[in-house]
Symmetry: D4
Subunit: 241 residues, 8 copies
């Protein structure tokens, strides 16, 4: 059998949206799930040349190691974040206190991966975060006990699987922007996160917005758009890398 | 054009499950939505002959009036309950204090019809009820304020549309049986009540059970099964009509 | 036939979430679709007593007129907004320039109702809005021509039916928060707005958030949460009515 | 490649809902499917310190062994129940005859795992159970032959996959509370258990309630709520561990 | 405004599948739901010319009357069957005893329309039928009491809405061919008949076959195919009209 | 009650995509379903000023008449096409023989409306069409008899409801481009046209393409793109109006 | 870790529906997918004792071997049928010519497994079969060429994945009973077989019946019910094993 | 255990649709996903004997190797195309300049496999292609920069996952035929490609057609039908192999 040679990273990678930071102030995340190690490594090298940080989501340990072996730019820091299932490429910046804090809440240990992805994506853009786990609505007292401390956050990201009621309860209690992230944790009618997604969209609490299931990165970028919108943060060009 | 004559109530009505009360202790409700006035009237006459009460659900005012005109048994009381959208046939019994009270809760005025159907079905079986409206989870303080009074109820029926989080929050707070009734109130992803149904089934609160969307009657009968199960209530034969 | 008397507005209306403005700074909107004129009028009278503005969504002309006939508080201004399909109760406040402007975009005339509901809900909370219609993605030049003027807005609300691509394209072009509102306009696979909803959630543009189908009010409240979050707007208590 | 260190059990585990037994009288089950062995072991140690029994559902043999290796509290009994796919932590209490018996029925060998999870969860709360397998509706005589013996049970839990008709037939024959558990056994339209779930919810038998697909634990807790509700069982505080 | 003239019955009606009786021995039923009275009348006239009987399904009284007014062939008998919601055109043949009997069962009055459509379609093909109503599975004794009499039927058609368990229970009790017809009677998860359809397809009873929701005509034609297949009935050409 | 005045046609109508003909050579169709008569009339007047033909789809007789009453440009021909449910505005051009013929096929009278919409949209762009009705796959001989004549068509549009098998069978028999249009005719699983849509997408015939359910206009525009693509038809600018 | 001992085959296996052959004349097939080798072996031993043949569906090679190792009844023939993915236990009977032939058709090699399961289940009940592969509708001539030979069959079973049009085309051409079996072969909208199922149910060909996706056994049992129904085959008791 | 012998390639393979090239001018692709290596090899040998090229889609490296080992016709070139996941059998022809070029676009590296399958299928039929990757709509400038060069293509195939907006934007910008191919890349609501499919079908851009999810081969064949339809390409018989 003949076989097509191991194809080189395709030239079209030159079409990466490097203009994105200038336009909307965000680092383009590489969605790692449907890409192989060669493709990811090629993209990271390309980002490096362009002087950009890199964030690759949905990368398990074994693929992370395969990427590491293929990278030429040895001096750039490649880090795999196990719980967040993400790779970062380059040194993460320090938090910028002027941007304010984002609180990331989740109902239980099973939602932790998505919450960590959101935290990491914010950290990459110099945003400070605070994580609260195990504040699910089946034991309300745990959430009620944190209400005062939550007043410090400018934006709240609430990750929840199963019936996804946490963001609804939260948005009924606090005045800040609340972004719901449905988590694909569950079984039966909640398998895949659709029940949580629909629960959040159908919420009777006013002003709750939602992102796709498991989309911690998306919630983080939505929070970033909000944080930068205040006076003194007139757009993307002030975000250093 | 020839046309088939207005057909008489078919003889098979004789096959009504009149044995049901003996077997499981419940009056058979007539589901009125897909039946016309002739069919409903024929069934009610038949129940009358058998000495049974009658409950017809999902009957609007105009159909109720059409049924009334067709009934021969003029001395039996026929009553239309507008909010519950139900017809009752015969005198409702007094509550039996020994059975205990059932609390029926709902999130808002829009869920009222389903809650009233549940109340009426219980009243038909001599069960006392208490109704709490406007205790939705977007304003938790209203529910928390009622917690103490809810301890009086032996069973709680929680009706909710939209995201349907009320039964979940409730079941996390009280030890009694909680029966969730999704309500087909909502729009977009919550239209038809499916989001509420899935939210209740996916609930992270332990021991919450659920009935079909808008099935106030079913929740009432489930509560009745529970109430009769305690010592001193050894089954259906003690329920008088 | 006996019939239950025309029941008075139930006492539970006293449980309206009047504490909401203090807690999260928003006027509670009354969802009018599944309520009858008696119920709506009773709630509006109650809001009046509490000194609150009222907003009732999803009210057609005929129901609006029926509500008007039932209201006692004749001096309070009741206005029906035909395109937005909303009733307002009380005098709308002037825009507060300090809050900033919200741009509301939609793809075509068919999406106008939802966009108008969003505008009205913002106006009720003193927020200035700007409406752009007919900027759908099948004729991109119309949207590209408005990019510069959109820089004035602090938040963008993009309403779209059919495939719902407008918010995706928009969020790839501007750095501000973008809230997508799927509109239940379409047929076949887009009937009911689900294709638009899924298209927005699945968006490859980072940081786009979404609300339920046709939920113009919800998008407005999400924008309000964002507007108030900046320095000088420390929460809900500064919103006058 | 750098890698984040093997992270210690997060401090938030301190937020386990240990108050649950006092509030609603139930041991919190740990849903093991989306948790790794480290996380489960950490939670079990924490429960031990709090003097609680532990129940972890959805744990296969290999994960059970990995948990066992990580546990410090060697003297506490850790048992893996193969058919139920559960771990228990601590000595199971003896049945309390005063609570009454729960009958657990299932249609065939394929539903056995879910039935066993329900039995185990009840045993953990001192409830006696009786298991009946192979009483599916395609051979009705097997179920009819057991009707008399079923009169002993105070609550019936009926697990069924495929078309899920068992609970419907059962609820038409007996007066006690019947809880349906759809089982994710089947193929084609019944794959995942949705056909069984819908069949149970749509049931024409009055007063049948339902829990999520495969949720044996949930059905058990619903039964427990019922058992405790009778006279002489005034709530959760009487349940010893 | 100009308007296209009331268009005459299009010439393509000449393409009616009049060859069908020769090929597969069945009269083509006209599905009346999406056709107007002109179209139906034109098709009936055409059938008349070809010497065929006509059956139009899903025709309400008012449309039936409009069809009657447009028909020229006054001497041919046009009959509207109210419960079956069908029009027949021509004299129905007498039953052919050699074909054997088909039993048509349904769970309740709400399923009657579909059962009657099946009966009528069989009668049009000279097949004797027997109707059993109110034999739903929530009161099994009614069905069990008929088992012996059902042995007379060569084929059984079982119509059921809600959870649709009747055909499953039936196919577990009798050896003949059983054809399940899901009925679009129900609400919530059973609205539209999908729960019943899935329940029948997922059935654990061996050898149950199913037709589309509400398709009484289709079930009848399937029974006809079976009846004609026996010795002495070698195909369609022996069916007289 | 105050009411917002009858709002004038909004200024944004100026943003109609009049550039479309230059860019892609097509007249923009106005989707009439969710627009009222005022909105449609305003758009048509605007098109008139721009020298464009107008096509409004999904307009019933009564709305067509309301539009007619509101139009000022009395000399422009407004025509309502009853079967196609469309309004045209302006004189339809003669067919351009150089573009070639499009065959529009459908399975039965119920699919006629969608087929007629496709024909009309093509006629508006000077394309000759040929209509074949009643060539459904349950009587194959009718389609096979037309195979030779179909060789004249450059593109085939096949409209089908129910199981939607017509385009599959067709694309297995002819070499030309075949565009499938699912039709929302059917009931049960085929209600709304989804079964037909999925059947066409899943087709085992190679090279069949599909448009949205009932989208006759879309299929016509796809055919137009194909017709213009041949030598001598280098793009949109040659299409006269 | 303690572990529950390898549990013996549960005693409830004694409740196998051995009465089935007497009642409806069919061997109960064991659905092997969700059972392990111990459970299957225990059931087979039990069938042996009762003098029954055994058929286990959905068994891959490795599980078949594990079952073989556990069986004590060494002299009984255990055979694994690779393409049909079935185990048979006992000697298959010779075909009974009096029952007539069943034709099993499928569209392509990918549907072969389901077709073979149907053939095997019929063979187990002494029914002769004939298999036709590669008669899909994208190349109609192959099916048309077989029409004459198909007249020999008393029943036709048509297996098809993708759009599932084969049974529709077939039922339009032949007068015998046609049973459609959707096959879970496909991708995108046809993944899992749902498009094929819906296509068959929605079929415009009269009298086509359908079984669950991949249910070759069910189609075979439906054919058996039909075959036995003719004169001279008065029920199940004449089927020898 | 006895086992059925490794069955030889079944004789029915003789029924391959070899007539297809004469009829519709296309090589039949073998869908490799649900076939094993023996089956694929047998089909390829058969194609070879008939003098045909072969294309097998959805073949991973390991299955490709297993096929290679089973092929007897050693001199025929068998090639595995890794990115396209396809096997070709025979020498690919040179592009025929007279047919014109097809542009294949995709949003990112994850869509590459589907795009490559389309390219390969076209190459097999002598069609020249051009590939553009990374032209997703979240960075519109990349697509706008290619508009001029796209004018060279006679047909455009646009592959997109996630929200699938690329074909919509494209069809709003160019006059040629645009074929959308949804790609099963995504997660949450876009998992499996359904959101992309619906987005394309719901598109507000006129004349966009769609094929099944991941169906690169189907899109290629649709393009081929179009290319051959122009003057000088009167059908399939001119396509040389």
């Amino acid at each position: 059998m003949n076989s097509t040679p191991s194809e080189p990273p395709p030239p079209q990678e030159a079409r990466l949206d490097l203009d994105r930071r200038r336009r909307i102030g965000m680092v383009e995340a590489i969605w790692g799930e449907n890409k192989n190690a060669e493709q990811i490594a090629a993209i990271l090298e390309h980002l490096k040349e362009a002087g950009e940080l890199g964030l690759v989501t949905r990368v398990e340990v074994s693929k992370a190691e395969a990427v590491a072996q293929r990278l030429r730019s040895g001096r750039t820091r490649l880090e795999h974040h196990r719980q967040a299932r993400c790779l970062t490429w380059g040194d993460l910046p320090d938090p910028d206190p002027g941007l304010g804090q984002v609180a990331v809440l989740c109902g239980g240990t099973s939602d932790l991966g998505v919450a960590k992805e959101a935290e990491l994506a914010l950290r990459l853009h110099s945003v400070a975060t605070r994580l609260l786990v195990d504040v699910g609505v089946a034991g309300l007292h745990r959430l009620l006990a944190e209400l005062e401390s939550l007043a410090q956050a400018r934006v709240l990201i609430a990750c929840a699987g199963m019936e996804g009621a946490l963001p609804t309860v939260l948005a009924g209690l606090v005045p800040q922007p609340v972004i719901g992230v449905p988590v694909s944790v569950g079984y039966g009618v909640s398998a895949g996160g659709l029940a949580a997604l629909h629960g959040m969209l159908a919420s009777c609490a006013p002003g709750l917005t939602v992102v796709n299931i498991d989309n911690g990165y998306g919630a983080a970028m939505a929070a970033l758009r909000i944080l930068r919108g205040g006076p003194g943060h007139h757009g993307p060009d002030r975000s250093g890398a």
